[in-house]
Amino acid sequence: MAENAAVTDEMKKWIGRESEATVIPIEKFMVLKFALATDDNNPLWQNEEYAKKSKHGGIMVPPNMLCCSMLSGGANRPTPPHNYNRRLDGGATWDFYKPMMVGDTIASVAKLVDIKSREGKMGTMLFFVWEIIHTNQKGELVAKTTSTGICY
């Protein structure tokens, strides 16, 4: 099958569609759970006294916490209906513009920006690319995620 042959006109109509914002207040316990899950003992995101003396003046949210699905993946990514039930994560790029601090509320809006298809080892594969804009409670742009999801 030719490149992108599995991408239908109906699917293409979804390109540019945006999700509602997912709004998540980042609490200290969430950061602690993240640090435990990633086996990361950096005191900047765990030790209040240490973090207060740092240039950030408080507990910073580890930038890689944006790797979490609740912030940059998950159910809110606009996806056209299709018949490929299995899925894999293809990869992502995170651009970090401003530090996120514990106590910040992060709003994330996902936009579908591209769809491709290709024949692979596992048959036809659809590639969805989303761009997710993350802003804090002051409306400041804190980060951008560009993420690829594969359905096959």
Partner: protein
């Protein structure tokens, strides 16, 4: 925490001190809970096998977080992670030893920041790169200490 790294300390070709991670099936459940990713290929073996996978597999995003950890460990308290890119090219199974490593490929100044660009990767215990990537960090200058 580790000694602060300064822009002047960094040279192209320099290696980032590697870190190793040992994700178990418990780690995958912990990550599922911490990140809110409950796709069953990461904890339900029957579901994973029915999806043509060899068993439950390590979340790509956990591997991305590990690579972020490689960078934040290296850059110290004053360094800032500016960009992280990962491609989940190969699958990793729980109970393998995963090594995150990297190398400096460029250093430059832009918009008043001292930036360092690195090629990074996550390898399995056979030495295969399953997750190649790249990162950009901003470092303080020791001249401004």
């Amino acid at each position: 925490m580790a000694k602060q790294l300064y822009f002047e300390d960094v040279e192209v070709g320099m290696e980032i001190p590697p870190i190793t991670k040992h994700p178990s099936t418990t780690t995958l459940v912990r990550w599922a809970g911490a990140s809110e990713d409950y796709y069953p290929i990461h904890y339900d073996k029957d579901f994973a096998l029915a999806s043509n996978l060899p068993g439950v597999i390590v979340h790509g995003r956990l591997k991305a977080a590990y690579l972020g950890n490689l960078m934040t460990n290296w850059i110290g308290d004053q360094g800032i992670l500016r960009k992280l890119t990962c491609n989940y090219r190969g699958m990793d199974l729980p109970c393998s030893v995963l090594t995150c490593k990297g190398k400096v490929v460029n250093k430059f100044q832009q918009n008043g920041e001292n930036l360092v660009e690195c090629d990074i990767s996550l390898e399995n215990d056979k030495g295969e790169t399953t997750t190649p990537g790249s990162a950009v960090v901003a470092l303080p200058s020791c001249k401004k200490k």
